[in-house]
Each structure stands twice: as structure tokens, then as C-alpha cells.
């Protein structure tokens, strides 16, 4: 299973399997919980569908509700909530064909909790850089053979982090 025999086939099969799982997830996910664009295109079909909208941006807000833009698809959300124009939110709601609009169940402002706040992104990049540098301390990458080899005289005793 881990030998060099049929290396390219094994690597191709693993990546192919990963891609197939992605396609399968997309198909099943869109059939049960489609994106906002599909709901707006066929409102009657998706009446009552629970939605979870990631990366919605508030474009307008008033006393009765607010409007959001999700990757170019715009809709109204009711009832009103504590949001302001320009807020990025994660929203859970139910799609309603009569309007159409989204009935708000729960929402969360993304920047409010630093998600994905600039500081959080910078910290994550630093952590990832540290992890990769630590890996390079123990392994040498040789793209020519698409293999990574343990560094001779490395740290098999594991005294280093």
C-alpha cells in the first residue's frame, strides 16, 4: 500500500478519490441545502429550505429587516437584527418563496469575534509557517523524485520539538 510500486497510480487514485468526494458532497449538498442563487432562481421549489449563508454582506438595514449580498445574489432578511451596512455575517435561516426573502433564525457577525479577523489570519499564518519550518528541519524535500527523505543525522530520539 505504501511501496513505490505503481506510485503514480496510487497518488492519482488518492487525488481522484478526494475529487470524487468533493463532487459527491457538492451534489448532495446542493440538492438538500442549495446556495442562495439557486433558491432565488427557483423560489417555489426551495420554499422552506433551511439555509446557512457563509460570507453574507449586509447592503442595507432598516426597522423591518435587512438586505444581504452573498457572492452576487441579493435578498431580504426578516426580522430586523443588530446589523449595519457593510457587516459581514454568517447567517442561518429559512428560505421563503413569497417575496422571496430569508426568515432569520440565527446570525453572527464575523469581524466581531475576529473571524476571520486580520489578527487571527496573521496568527494562523505564523503557526503554519512554524509547523512547515519544523517539518523542514526533519525532512528534505526533493521535488525531482516527488519524495521526502528523512534528514541524515536528524533527531530520531525526538529531543527537539
Amino acid at each position: 500500500m505504501f511501496s513505490n510500486r505503481s506510485f503514480a497510480w496510487k497518488l492519482g487514485a488518492a487525488l481522484g478519490m478526494a475529487a470524487l468526494l468533493g463532487v459527491h458532497s457538492e451534489r448532495r449538498g446542493q440538492s438538500t441545502s442549495p446556495d442562495l442563487g439557486r433558491c432565488l432562481a427557483e423560489p417555489d421549489r426551495w420554499e422552506g429550505t433551511p439555509l446557512r449563508l457563509r460570507g453574507a454582506r449586509v447592503t442595507e438595514s432598516d426597522a423591518s429587516g435587512f438586505e444581504i449580498d452573498v457572492h452576487g445574489s441579493r435578498t431580504r432578511v426578516v426580522p430586523a437584527a443588530r446589523v449595519a451596512t457593510g457587516d459581514a455575517i454568517l447567517l442561518a435561516g429559512t428560505f421563503r418563496a413569497q417575496g422571496p426573502f430569508v426568515q432569520l433564525v440565527e446570525f453572527r457577525k464575523l469581524e466581531e469575534h475576529g473571524e476571520p479577523g486580520r489578527l487571527s489570519v496573521i496568527a494562523s499564518i505564523l503557526v503554519l509557517s512554524g509547523v512547515l519550518l519544523n517539518l523542514l528541519r526533519h525532512f528534505a524535500f526533493r521535488p525531482g523524485v516527488i519524495q521526502v527523505k528523512g534528514v541524515e543525522g536528524g533527531d530520531p530520539a525526538g529531543t527537539e520539538a
Binding site: S3, F7, S25, E106, E115, N134, F139, Q147, G150
Partner: protein, 154 residues
């Protein structure tokens, strides 16, 4: 979504049980792998959130970990696969503890079901506290190792 530092701290703490520093290095990579794949597919690949779902599921991570393990030298692949998978699953365990607006954070049995589970043990508001706690855990472990090394040298 917990910060990457929190995920790293869980791997750093559990990795202390491993004697081989190289294996620990792969475990650390494993704990970051679901996030690298998720963000990579989402922002650089332009994929929809549904396409990204398998990289936050135990079975969906299998082919990715296997493919990554194949990039190691032959003798190391089985160990690398184990460490990558253990790290990745540790990541999922921490994510499953999060509050994700009633939907659940982890597709636990994908591709057989799209159902997700979540334990709602912490909320996004707790992110700052968790990062602080992660920093303390790492510092305590490092200090412990430093004191042990110092007493050994005496």
C-alpha cells in the same frame, strides 16, 4: 472554527507522548491539514463550501492523508500516514466541540450521510480565551521540558 494556534496546542500537548521528533513534526502538519485544504479549496480553488465539506470529515480526509503520505520516503509512509491522520482527526475533534449555529461542525459519517455533529462546548466569543489558553499550554510544556533538561545536565 477554532484558531490554528488552538489546534496546534492540542497536537503539541498530545505529541509529547511521541519520542520521535520527526513523527511529531508530521503530527503538527496533520493537525493543520484540514484547515490548509479547506482554505486552499475555498479561497484559492474557488470551490463552494460543499466541496470543502469532505476535508472536515473523518473518512473524507483519508485520501488526502494517503496522498500526502506518499510524498514521504517509502520507509516513512505508513508512519507519516498514521501521524497525518491522527493530527487531522484531532483537528476534527476540536472543531466538533465548537458552536456552529445548530448545524454541527463535523460531517462525521460522510459520504454515507451529510448529517453533522457538534457538541457546542465553546462559542466564537471564546476564541480569545482559547488562544490565550493554547499559548499557556505551549509555554507550560516548553518550560517543563527546559527544567527537565536543566536538571538532567546537573
Amino acid at each position: 472554527m477554532a484558531a490554528l494556534l488552538v489546534h496546534f496546542a492540542t497536537a503539541f500537548a498530545s505529541g509529547q507522548a511521541l519520542r520521535d521528533g520527526r513523527l511529531r513534526a508530521v503530527l503538527y502538519l496533520g493537525v493543520c491539514l484540514p484547515e490548509i485544504l479547506d482554505q486552499g479549496l475555498l479561497f484559492f480553488g474557488g470551490a463552494s463550501p460543499w466541496v470543502c465539506l469532505p476535508v472536515h470529515s473523518p473518512l473524507g480526509l483519508l485520501p488526502w492523508c494517503y496522498a500526502a503520505a506518499l510524498l514521504f520516503e517509502e520507509d516513512w509512509r505508513a508512519r507519516a500516514f498514521g501521524a497525518l491522520l491522527a493530527g487531522s482527526w484531532l483537528h476534527l475533534l476540536v472543531e466538533a466541540g465548537g458552536h456552529s449555529m445548530g448545524e454541527g461542525a463535523m460531517a462525521w459519517a460522510f459520504p454515507f450521510t451529510m448529517d453533522r455533529i457538534g457538541f457546542a462546548l465553546y462559542r466564537p466569543q471564546d476564541a480569545g480565551t482559547m488562544v490565550l489558553a493554547a499559548g499557556v499550554v505551549i509555554a507550560v510544556i516548553e518550560l517543563g521540558a527546559w527544567f527537565r533538561g536543566r536538571s538532567r545536565r546537573r
